[in-house]
């Protein structure tokens, strides 16, 4: 198997804010193309890659959805060479001051998010968090040059380079959800040597962070028989130790709740037990907060499941994930796909 960690680092470094996934989609396409039978972009830019199964036509198909878009910022206004900002996706403004960023102007410009001195702010911000409306980006360039190179609506990505930490963990921005893209890549690689009856749609969706847009539209277009969504979930760690957080590096989560078909969830659980892949069951009573909220209700409705990869510090530029969990999620997926029999849907029933 080609190196996973360098590919993951490439994924983290590729720009691709919501609706603007072009660069990262191209990177994934290059990596996936030899692993699949056909590959194309949807009208909105989601990557659709198909591995054909061996069952007779009409063949059932399983869609694996991993969103590839990144959260970030956008230039709303330019004042004296400083950039005002809006968020793209959910960003806690409290993690922004002092962050290195790349401003995607007419050329890519390095910059830093700055929290102006309290003297330059309305009263009350001596100690309280400064909201996004008062934060700025400084590119270090003179105002005239900024006006030449940057326009309202230009995107701003996080620029924190990926770091390898102890215990085979990776820190960086956009591990949500490029870690899952890496896991799906592991799955596709594993399937090279495993026959499977079903068609597999490996899909890197666009714009999950701004409304599950890729999930709605790709599922509508491809009309799979089943969907498994792969996304990150909250890992236990500093600042996060509630019931809905899971140990880092101790296996993926299998999510149960209203978005997920219980029989599909159970099939994944049984398989993980059989393979002795460690996992935790994650409870999402109403909405899973993932693409599955969309895939489940697309067209006639599609049984969906969610696998989570525990991640610390979600939506900060220093998210942390364990490479082991990525590999486990990829392997579980591949084994699940390889085990899908042509009549598998007979088991996906209600009220056993």
């Amino acid at each position: 198997m080609p190196e996973l960690i360098p590919f993951l680092k490439d994924l983290l470094s590729a720009p691709g804010l919501s609706i603007h996934e072009g660069p990262v989609a191209e990177l994934i396409r290059t990596r996936w193309a030899p692993l699949v039978d056909e590959i194309s972009l949807s009208r909105l830019g989601s990557l659709h890659a198909r591995r054909k199964g061996s069952a007779a036509e009409p063949r059932p198909s399983i869609l694996i959805a991993t969103h590839m878009d990144a959260i970030g910022l956008m230039v709303t206004r330019i004042e004296d060479g400083f950039l005002h900002l809006a968020q793209v996706g959910g960003v806690d403004a409290r993690v922004l001051p002092g962050q290195l960023v790349t401003v995607h102007g007419r050329q890519d410009l390095p910059g830093v998010v700055i929290q102006p001195s309290p003297r330059l702010l309305p009263p009350g911000f001596e100690e309280n968090p400064v909201p996004l409306e008062h934060l700025l980006v400084d590119t270090g360039l003179l105002p005239r040059r900024v006006n030449e190179l940057v326009r309202v609506g230009d995107l701003v990505s996080f620029a924190q380079p990926p770091l390898e930490l102890a215990g085979e963990t990776i820190a960086g921005h956009t591990l949500d959800n490029r870690a899952s893209v890496a896991a799906l890549t592991v799955c596709l690689e594993t399937l090279q040597n495993r026959p499977h009856a079903w068609d597999v749609w490996a899909v890197a969706t666009v714009a999950e962070e701004v409304g599950l847009i890729g999930a709605y539209t790709s599922t509508f277009q491809l009309r799979p028989t089943l969907v498994i969504v792969l996304d990150v979930t909250f890992a236990k760690g500093p600042g996060a130790n509630e019931w809905n957080t899971f140990p880092l590096g101790k296996g993926p989560t299998l999510v149960m709740g209203a978005n997920m078909h219980p029989a599909l969830h159970k099939a994944l659980k049984d398989l993980a037990d059989k393979l002795e892949i460690p996992y935790a069951v994650e409870y999402a009573p109403t909405h899973s907060g993932t693409d599955a909220s969309a895939t489940q209700v697309t067209a006639e409705g599609i049984p969906s499941a969610v696998i989570g990869i525990p991640l610390r510090y979600m939506h900060t530029p220093v998210e942390v994930v364990a490479v082991k969990d990525i590999r486990r999620a990829g392997r579980l997926l591949a084994e699940f796909i390889a085990g899908l029999t042509p009549d598998f849907m007979d088991k996906i029933t209600w009220d056993d």
Binding site: I19, L44, R77, V152, G153, Y216, T217, S218, F220
Partner: protein
């Protein structure tokens, strides 16, 4: 075009009750369109250019241009014993814009908005503290029933370059679509001019219209805010600096290919334009984007001051430039 804008803005058609405005628009577009239909939610859909049946051609696209024809309004919830009408809002009503205002019901009845005595006069009233006085003295002689709807009653005002009216949001978009349809001599595209309903209550008309039209490109024409009034919100859009090409609003990120196409089109036609990031509000484009298998979507915005007040202001040159830009864009093949 000013008289068209006056006619459109002085018509009363709050969300869900678009009959009157649909008739006004239908009379304008009927002679211009190749095909006209009204769908189940009341969207008025006018086609111009070769239909799907004529087969594909290079650079030919099926486009949906959407301007919503509904307006915000009020709906009566209770008639009290003295004939005063209590109400709630249809769409984003701001109570501070109500006091002293006049309203006109779809059934023709008129009234004025009053407020209860406020314990704290420095604060804006809530909708529950407002009522409509239609001149009645009891439920019996009240011309309004529970469930009747009304819009702001405010005449069109021509300030020369600046135009003021209620419901400029989004009758100005309707006017731009009508004038574009009129100006469009020929188009390689199958263009649907869609006058949508129920935008102000959740983009509902655009949702079904997009499913029905199944466009390859979706473009809304709607108003956007400005940052050019004293101590107002600080936004990089001004009245009179050209129509705005939306990059983002709070509901949608425009498809970058559409943004590039529109900006290049404006530059080629030497028309002024502004790039827009709107931090509050969204348009029909949001519904179009996620329709079926997805539609690249964007929005051409008309900068507007005092949105959702009874006196919304636009710049006439911005409006005319929007027509020119839209006409130029849909006249030529689209190569992406």
């Amino acid at each position: 075009m000013k008289s068209l804008i006056q006619k459109l803005t002085e018509t009363f058609s709050p969300s869900g009750y678009e009959n009157a405005i649909r008739e006004v628009i239908r009379r304008e577009v009927e002679p211009l369109a190749d095909e006209l239909r009204v769908d189940a939610l009341g969207n008025l859909i006018a086609r111009k250019g070769p239909s799907t049946g004529s087969g594909p051609a290079k650079g030919k696209k099926r486009l949906m241009l959407a301007a919503h024809m509904d307006e915000i309004g009020l709906i009566a919830t209770h008639i009290d014993e003295n004939g005063f009408v209590r109400f709630t809002g249809i769409g984003g009503i701001r109570p501070q814009a109500l006091t002293g205002g006049r309203v006109r019901f779809v059934n023709g009845a008129a009234g004025v908005i009053g407020i209860e005595r406020l314990s704290d006069p420095s604060k804006a009233p809530t909708l529950e503290q407002c009522f409509i006085d239609v001149g009645a003295t009891s439920p019996k002689d009240c011309p309004v029933k529970v469930g009747d709807v009304c819009g702001f009653d405010r005449p069109f005002l021509d300030l020369g370059r600046r135009l003021v009216a209620k419901a400029m949001d989004d009758r100005i978009g309707c006017a731009v679509l009508i004038e574009t349809l009129r100006a469009l001599e020929s188009t390689p595209h199958e263009v649907y001019f869609v006058f949508t309903t129920q935008e102000e209550v959740g983009l509902r008309g655009a949702h079904t219209a997009a499913f029905g039209v199944e466009p390859e490109i979706g473009l809304s024409v709607d108003v956007t805010g400005t940052g050019d009034t004293p101590k107002g919100s600080r936004m990089a859009v001004s009245l009179g600096k050209g129509p705005a090409i939306k990059v983002k609003d709070s509901g949608m990120l425009s498809d970058p290919r559409l943004v590039a196409w529109m900006c290049a089109g404006a530059e080629k036609a030497r028309l002024p334009y502004q790039r827009e990031v709107l931090e509050g509000g969204t348009t029909d484009a949001m519904a179009m984007q996620v329709s079926r298998a997805g539609v690249p979507a964007g929005c051409l915005s008309i900068p507007s001051r005092y949105i959702h007040s009874p006196s919304e202001m636009v710049d006439y040159e911005d409006v005319q430039n929007a027509v020119k830009l839209l006409t130029a864009l849909v006249s030529k093949p689209i190569e992406w």
